[in-house]
């Protein structure tokens, strides 16, 4: 019933180097954009983890930061605005041997994609979600986002936003994410560690990154963040302490924590819990199609 079977591709691939992860083209982000740092940190994390690029899939939604899959040499999907996590769940379930990393922005993930964000977390799908959070809509030239602080003046809130922002850290902790971290584009080495931890974590991992928009957000700049961000790992934070994680997650103002807020390893991922993936036949995507004559007979018997 299948096409003739060819031998698998077995040629030895070349050695992995930092260059391996370089994409086909140079990013078209504005000079100074925080997203450059995220791209480099992700490439570095993959290199340090010796992740083979053809076994990884970077999946984004739409927005400036969502252009990232085109700039990295792994399989990539540049999907629809807000839908990266839904697509990524399908990819993970179709081929659970792939490393899946979602990338996107705050509007994409917390705004239009909010519903998928909540449900992908509660399912504990084994993937890494890196949100380049610049608290603004950049690609549409500077409107209010779900993480824009109250009072922020943008092109869509010329008198200042009257809405309360989403705080993704506590939201993710109570939403069921099992690895919740924050990083800052100005602290790339720390970000590499956060991303590596997220990729290695089995379950849904969020890395919310302060990735300043140098063109449209004049409030939350590198200069604004630099003196404020404090690394949790340097403060002896215990990421297994739920209440402390929530407390630090709400902290905002003169001191803003970055680092690993919350991690739990006692919950199984969605993939672990689905017996269909554990039949010893490998990824669903590569299995033989059709059903056996015995199975067909059983299905027909139900109709008689």
């Amino acid at each position: 019933m299948n096409a003739p079977v060819a031998p698998p591709v077995t040629a030895e691939p070349a050695q992995l180097t930092k260059e391996t992860y370089r994409g086909r083209i140079h990013p078209d982000w504005c000079p100074g954009c925080g997203d450059f740092s995220v791209l480099v940190a992700l490439q570095r994390a993959l290199f340090e983890l010796e992740q083979e690029p053809h076994q990884a899939c970077v999946i984004s939604g739409i927005g400036c930061s969502s252009n990232l899959p085109g700039y990295i040499n792994t399989y990539g999907m540049h999907t629809l605005h807000g839908r990266a996590l839904a697509v990524a769940t399908g990819v993970r379930l179709g081929n659970h041997e792939l490393k899946v990393i979602c990338t996107g922005g705050d509007g994409d993930g917390y705004g239009i994609g909010g519903n998928h964000f909540v449900h992908t977390m509660r399912r504990n799908v084994d993937l890494t979600y890196i949100v380049m959070d610049n608290q603004i809509y950049g690609l549409t030239t500077g409107q209010c986002s779900p993480t824009s602080v109250k009072g922020m003046k943008t092109k869509s809130t010329p008198h200042g936003s009257v809405e309360n922002p989403i705080n993704p850290i506590p939201m993710a902790i109570v939403g069921g994410a099992t690895y919740v971290a924050r990083a800052f584009s100005g602290k790339q080495k720390h970000m590499v560690e956060m991303i590596k931890g997220a990729i290695q974590h089995k379950g849904f991992a969020l890395v919310d990154v302060f990735s300043p928009c140098v063109t449209y957000n004049k409030d939350n700049t590198y200069q604004w963040f630099n003196p404020r961000v404090k690394i949790l790992e340097e403060q002896g934070h215990d990421p297994t302490d739920f209440h402390k994680a929530i407390e630090r997650g709400y902290q905002w103002g003169e001191e803003i924590p970055i680092g690993l807020f919350w991690r739990r390893t006692d919950l199984e991922s969605l993939e672990d819990l689905e017996p269909v993936l554990h039949t010893g036949e490998g990824p669903l995507a590569f299995r033989n199609l059709g059903i056996s004559a015995e199975q067909a007979k059983g299905l027909i018997q139900e109709l008689l």
Binding site: P69, H78, V276
Partner: protein, 611 residues
């Protein structure tokens, strides 16, 4: 024509056991070898309301619910009042003499009042079972099949329930034998035992045959039956089944799974499909094959969730912004659903595009008899130019020989592979994540042959045009792979009746009735493949017809407008129905007669149930 053809109508409140009685009768008829068609007219309500199930059976093909009821079982007064006037001489009504009072029935209708309290020993929920026994007796069917079928139906409820129902059914049977006059004919026997299947089951089984490995859905009537079948069989068949937070998530998840190489599918109704449409465009843009079934119900918005309509044609034609190739098909009955799903998967894999199925409540929730030999799960599987890492797809080596650059290398940084290569057919060899030497990004932004966003370099008008044309070109091939519609009936006819999708069965019967009872020679053109459309063949056929009438289950003539837009052909007349109920053969026969008599060009048959 059928030698013997009869129908049983059971009505009452939801919760009175109408479905289980219907199922028992349908199984008894099917096991007897009778062909059947069952349609349940129900309300969006869990308890109460008015439900009316029609099971029509015969020894020839039974393609719709028919025009008449022979055995009428009103389980409450409301049902009696709404339907009694429709019974014709020779029919009988079976009812509880203490609870239901008949109104004025036509001459020759046998009123079979039964002492239900006595027969059921006071079990109010078993009145249907006593009526079932009586029905079999009147139809001349032995009481023996009751035991096995009742045991099957109530297996989960335990031996006590089975025994009680069996006793009551037999009591009803015996009471009818002593007190009522059986029909002058007996329910015939068919050549071989048949089974029963709903369209939703047939859809799901077609998916299983096609090798679906991923199924996702959000529950939505009348498509939920597909989800339930898939969920029940998921582990046994190795299918990943997910209930997702909304239909947006459903379609995106299905595309994700399909992108990895799975055959992936979903089903919904019009409202859910509306949420999916942006992602359907994504499947078109990133050239990922998926199959989505829209089981149409009466719209717009929430509409009438439990009623049938063919109202989503233009939604499906226009799903998603921009121009992109899609295949749209409207299967004509339950068995056709089973066969169409694997065929559509082959086309979608070959042309790397979304495939959309327009079904409707009538055939997806409707039940039909099925010959087990017609359910061949050994279907042809053609995955097109797919490159999988373990060779289960078309071998990369073979593709490379064709000179289309499918297998440029096996390293990490090979840049030679062009996922969206501009080929004469428009089809580009499709690697999936996990294959060495084929790394690419699938983007919903317009992209170059290698997947690079054209807006990331220079928004090149020549490249944009090339990619639009590459994708569009695929439909030229697809048109050759699908069968043109065929005229059924005599070439020379007074009138040609055109329909699309689920109306094929009832129109077929109307054609037979016109010839047999009215002396009007008609033929039929049932159109199944909607996009791409065999416009030239259809124009040629219709151009030879003296009089063309288009029959469809919607108000605005959606297919009439589509046909005109694709062929320039304007039909002479229209028969439309949009009251939530399907066409019955006489609706069409009477409308054709009035149109041939020159009385009107637009007929809107009235559904005769009392309001």
């Amino acid at each position: 024509m059928n030698k013997i053809d009869f129908a049983v109508g059971i009505g009452g409140e939801n919760g009175q056991g109408i479905a289980s009685t219907g199922n028992i009768l349908a199984l008894i008829f099917a096991r007897r070898g009778l062909h059947l068609n069952a349609y349940n007219a129900y309300q969006s309500i869990i308890r109460g309301g008015h439900t009316f199930l029609t099971i029509r059976a015969g020894d020839g093909p039974v393609r719709n619910m028919g025009d008449k009821i022979d055995v009428f079982i009103p389980l409450n007064q409301d049902t009696m009042d709404r339907h009694l006037h429709l019974l014709k001489s020779g029919a009988c009504a079976i009812y509880d003499k203490e609870k239901v009072t008949p109104g004025k029935a036509a001459d020759g209708v046998q009123l079979c009042a039964m002492p239900m309290k006595e027969l059921t020993k006071g079990n109010k929920l078993a009145v249907n079972t006593a009526a079932l026994g009586a029905t079999l007796e009147l139809l001349g069917i032995e009481s023996e099949p009751l035991e096995t079928v009742i045991s099957r139906q109530f297996k989960k409820k335990g031996d006590a329930v089975i025994a009680e129902n069996l006793t009551i059914a037999r009591a009803g049977y015996d009471y009818a034998a002593q007190n009522f006059t059986a029909f002058s004919w007996k329910a015939p026997r068919g050549a071989k035992p048949l089974g029963i299947i709903t369209g939703n089951q047939a859809t799901a089984m077609g998916g299983a045959a096609a090798g679906v490995k991923f199924y996702a859905a959000y529950p939505m009537s009348p498509s939920t039956g597909v989800l339930m079948w898939m969920a029940a069989h998921a582990r046994e068949l190795g299918i990943m089944v997910r209930q997702v937070e909304d239909e947006i998530g459903v379609m995106n998840m299905v595309i994700g799974a399909a992108h990895t190489g799975c055959r992936a599918m979903c089903a919904t109704s019009g409202g859910g499909f509306a949420l999916m449409t942006e992602a359907v465009g994504m499947a078109g843009m990133i050239e990922t094959p998926i199959v989505c079934v829209d089981v149409q119900r009466a719209g717009p918005a929430t509409g009438v969730p439990t009623k049938t309509e063919q109202g989503d044609l233009w939604q499906v034609l226009g799903a998603g912004q921009g121009d992109y190739p899609r295949i749209v098909v409207a299967p004509t009955n339950q068995l056709d659903l089973f066969h169409t799903i694997p065929e559509l998967f082959n086309l979608c894999d070959k042309y790397q595009c979304p495939g959309l199925v327009l079904s409707d409540l009538l055939i997806s929730e409707g039940t039909t008899s099925i010959d087990p030999d017609d359910l061949d799960f050994g279907v042809k599987i053609d995955r097109g130019e797919l490159i999988l890492p373990n060779g289960n797809g078309l071998p990369a080596v073979a593709l490379a020989k064709e000179g289309n650059g499918a297998n440029p290398g096996s390293g990490y940084n090979d840049k030679a592979y062009l996922r969206f290569k501009n080929t004469p057919s428009g089809i580009s060899p499709r690697a999936v994540p996990g294959v060495l030497g084929h790394i690419f990004t699938a983007a919903t932004d317009e992209h170059d042959e290698d997947g690079t966003l054209i807006s990331d370099e220079f928004t090149n008008p020549q490249k944009r045009r090339m990619m639009v044309e590459k994708r569009a070109r695929k439909m030229q091939g697809a048109l050759k792979d699908i069968a043109p519609p065929k005229l059924v009936g005599p070439e020379q006819a007074e009138v040609t009746l055109v329909g699309w999708g689920s109306t094929a069965g009832v129109i077929r019967e109307a054609v037979e009735k016109l010839a047999g009872e009215e002396g009007i020679v008609a033929n039929q053109l049932a159109i199944k493949w909607i996009v791409p459309l065999h416009a030239a063949e259809i124009s040629a056929i219709l151009g030879r017809s003296k009089n063309v009438i288009l029959i469809e289950n919607n108000q605005s003539g959606q297919f009439a407008r589509y046909l005109r837009s694709e062929t320039g052909f304007d039909t002479h007349g229209h028969i439309r129905k949009y009251d939530g109920e399907p066409f019955m053969p006489h609706h069409i026969v009477e409308a054709v007669k009035e149109q041939l008599a020159g009385k009107t060009r637009l007929s809107i048959p009235v559904h005769e149930v009392n309001a």
